[in-house]
């Protein structure tokens, strides 16, 4: 019993600090023992993944309370606590992060040739920090993890990125940094209003007047909207994605973007519910612009990574829309879409990475007829392309369908606009697929392609299973998050207008 209780307290710390500790170990020992770097990284990420599994099995369904809570004083002068805990909203994201962390290490196994130790160290440290973001119950701890993550990502894009990497990574850093510092001011303001407390739950239900709420909402909005990213502050994303190495793109798309939407659920909605309602129309409008306009932008891209990057923005539009519908279908759909997009976008970036490793080109026109030489790869990518266009039976369908259903309840025009873009999503994804995979082999470079290696098959297959599983049987996921989302939507301020 005591061992069980001790585990309850330490579980989250273990999940956060294991990859960070292994990362630093690799950083310091990697120069001396270069052959140990890859096995150590694999071991570290595998251990982290295994450590997250008990969280899933031991998690109490049906309650919105925080679980695995661990609270220790950290900076008493500012009443900052090292407070960790997860609920149904954070648990799926924690698992997603540890799974993607494992996959990224496998994917970078042979592709990275220089500064190998630093590469794996950066990813492992970042993995720990990202899990920390989803587990933090103290706003300042959250902020520390949220910002600290920028350092490894900055280095990953800048060191291992493409030709224009310096521009892309500085743009990425400054954009996100500007977004988050305004959130810092808002958090400090709330701190003094909550009677000197940074505990996220103590910031809920503060009696804030309407104009103040709007200001705080906007400060949060800038931080989260940049991360999601929402139109019109999305311009860093295509640059960052195109220049980042495959692993960097995967982490960016699969996890980092989710932090923005997680922030809306954890901070914006419960802390400033009135402002959230007040500005919900604007949020939905921005989301629809992302869904419709960015979907069209994706259609004309020549660069595969850029296309998937724009498709990510468009899909994240569904998430933000679902959140600001203020109904159960929308919120659940948003969460499912977050997880599904984590799998699908990661898989698509990995597919591009597989091709890029062979031909060192991301241009669509350099390919064509790949199916003739790489049949297994073509089959796997087909599945992910279908998921990206929202085919029933894949995970992409579940989330989008729930959000569209939810939007019907609010305004039929939202639903119509959002549904139209299922077409554009299918159009750009399938057109990309057609141009790259199908057709006759006309280029000598394509002719020389080798099909996926067992290692590549392994990580694509893991994601394929996840996409299908979530597509046909989303019930376990919905069960985990239902109570927390229901509780969130039933909060006094949040439930004001919508019908949960």
């Amino acid at each position: 019993m005591t061992a069980m209780a001790a585990y309850d307290h330490l579980a989250l710390s273990l999940v956060i600090w294991t990859p960070i500790a292994v990362g630093f170990l690799i950083l310091f020992a990697g120069g001396r023992f270069p052959r140990l770097v890859r096995p150590l990284a694999a071991l570290g990420s595998l251990a982290t993944f295994l450590l997250t599994l008990p969280l899933w099995t031991e998690f109490q369904r049906g309650t919105a309370a925080m679980q695995f809570v661990d609270i220790r004083p950290w900076i008493p002068a500012f009443h900052v606590y090292y407070a960790l805990g997860i609920d149904g909203i954070s648990l799926p994201l924690v698992l997603l992060t540890s799974l993607i962390g494992l996959i990224v290490v496998i994917a970078g196994w042979s592709g990275v040739k220089e500064r190998v130790a630093e590469y794996f160290a950066a990813f492992l440290i970042m993995e720990g920090l990202m899990i920390g973001v989803f587990c933090a119950l103290d706003a300042m701890l959250f902020y520390v993890f949220w910002e600290a993550m920028l350092i490894p990502m900055f280095l990953i894009i800048g060191i291992w990125g493409g030709p224009n990497r310096v521009y892309a990574t500085i743009k990425f850093f400054l954009y996100t940094f500007l977004g988050s510092v305004l959130m810092l001011v808002a958090l400090l303001y709330l701190y003094f209003h909550a009677g000197d407390s940074f505990r996220i739950t103590s910031l809920y239900d503060l009696p804030l007047r309407e104009p103040t709420q709007i200001w705080i909402f906007l400060a949060f909005l800038i931080a989260f909207a940049v991360k999601v990213p929402m139109w019109p502050v999305h311009t860093w994303l295509p640059d960052a994605h195109v220049e980042a190495p495959t692993g960097g793109s995967v982490v960016l798309a699969a996890i980092m973007l989710k932090m923005g939407t997680y922030g809306f659920l954890r901070f914006s909605l419960p802390i400033v519910p009135h402002a959230s309602h007040e500005l919900a129309g604007m949020m939905i409008a921005l989301s629809l612009v992302a869904i419709v306009y960015i979907g069209l932008v994706a259609l004309v891209q020549e660069d595969m990574k850029k296309l998937i990057a724009y498709s990510s923005i468009s899909h994240m539009g569904f998430v933000t829309m679902g959140i600001f519908l203020f109904n159960s279908l929308g919120a659940n759909g948003a969460m499912v879409q977050m997880i599904s997009h984590g799998f699908v976008s990661a898989a698509l970036f990995l597919c591009v990475g597989v091709l890029y490793d062979r031909l060192h080109s991301r241009q669509i026109r350099d390919y064509g007829g790949v199916a003739n030489r790489m049949p297994v790869f073509a089959a796997l990518m087909m599945l992910f392309a279908m998921a990206n266009s929202g085919l029933p039976g894949t995970s992409g369908f579940v989330g989008e369908f729930m959000v569209i259903l939810g939007s019907f309840k609010v305004d039929i025009w939202y639903a119509v606009l959002a549904a139209i873009t299922l077409l554009s999503g299918a159009a750009y994804t399938l057109w990309l697929y057609k141009r790259v995979i199908f057709g006759p082999v006309t280029k000598a470079t394509v002719d020389s392609l080798q099909d996926v290696s067992p290692r590549e098959t392994a990580f694509l297959a893991i994601l394929a299973v996840a996409v299908l599983l979530l597509g046909v049987w989303p019930q376990p996921l919905l069960q985990v998050m239902h109570a927390s989302l229901h509780h969130l939507l039933a909060r006094p301020g949040v439930a004001l207008a919508g019908t949960p």
Binding site: L27, G31, P73, W74, I75, P76, A77, F78, V80, E118, M140, Y143, V144, F145, E147, A148, L150, I151, F154, L155, G158, I159, R165, V166, T169, I170, F173, L174, F177, L178, V181, L182, L184, V185, L188, Y189, Y191, F192
Partner: protein, 475 residues
Amino acid sequence: MLHIGPVLPEILLLVMACAVLLAEVFLPPRRATLLYWLSQMALVGAAFLTAHERFDGVIMHGMFVADRLTRVLEEFICLLTIIVLAYSRDYIAERGLFKGEYFVLGLLAVVGMCVMVGAAHFIALYLGLELMSLSLYAMVALERDSSRASEAAMKYFVLGALASGLLLYGLSMLYGATGSLEIATVARALPTLAPGNLVATVGLVFVVAGLAFKLGAVPFHMWIPDVYEGAPTSVTLFVGAAPKIAAFALFMRLLIAGLHGLVASWQDMLVLLSVLSMAIGNMVAIAQTNTKRMLAYSTIAHMGFLLLGIVSARSSGYAAAMFYAIVYTLMTLGGFGVIILMSRRGFEADRLEDLKGLHQRSPWYAFMMLLFMFAMAGIPPTIGFYAKLAVIGAAVGAGFYGLAIAAVVFSVIGAFYYLRIVKLMYFDAATDKAPLRSARDLRWILSANGAAMIALAPWVGSLISVCRAALGGIG
């Protein structure tokens, strides 16, 4: 009976300064290293004496106040100077500056700073300030064949003398208004004056101008870039670190303990100084191509942040400013430490492009410099972030929302040039492939300094508590 316990460290330093001066005359040149060790021993001894002193109260006929603040800051000034001397040892040896004067002036400057920190009287305060300033002017000019250093020393001296004059003039007006030179008596007399007393207010303006000059806040910052760039890097390191702590102590002793009665007046002035420093410092730093000059502008910006804590006019804000000053000196030591480490005989390594590809030449020092840069930019988990959090929190707590937003926006602008250094080190190829050579103790201290940037994060709370306790008798 004269109680001299609390000033024993100052006396020890003074005696040792004389001993170093004499030792140089009698020592054969090949034994010159002894001068270095003598100075380090003096500093360690002073730190030790400070740590074992418990007496609280005003001594020396109202000249010197012994309290927690005095002890903590003196301790820290000694520690900083120990690190500075360790960083500079090989650098000055290679440039023919390894002379008794260097150490004597350094020790005298430390005595001056300690006197400033514990000043309870305008005269003591001014004496300490001048002792420190004159030693520093001479140290900047020590490389006498360098025209840049002489120019820097000249500028520093002329402008510094002007600032001292302003301060002295302001103090004389306060004396005229209150009839006392003792800070505590002045503080008691101020509330009895008629509100808006012109003499006291004009005196305050001069005092604030003098203080702002010593701190290096805009618009009294013109000397900083030239002095930082022109002085030998080891002296830049010295000027950039401990004197900022002493300047912070001046603010505490004069503005907070002495002139708290005029808080409404100085608050407005400091708001202006703070915003201007953050703005000019961060923006002009972007245009620099010389690392030392860039760090000089970064210093100006940091002083703007430090002032945020004082502006709040609350004890928690003062503690935040003190914490900021401590963190700032640790970061700046490291930044200049890396420049010193990279320079060698006849090569200064003070241009930005000298940092190119440092990661290829030495991953470890590149990582250390990365930590210093992210700390200066205020990115968690480095301690630079907690320092910024503390001062911005103080501003928000006191209701200065606009000031807080300005501060964070300028910190984003500032992040650009820190990132540029990281970019040069990590993303660019090295043009200079010469291996880095340095003494082992220097490497260890620099590594410890770098590790402190993140390793201190779990103990931020205790550090802030120390600052709060130290300021308990003041705010």
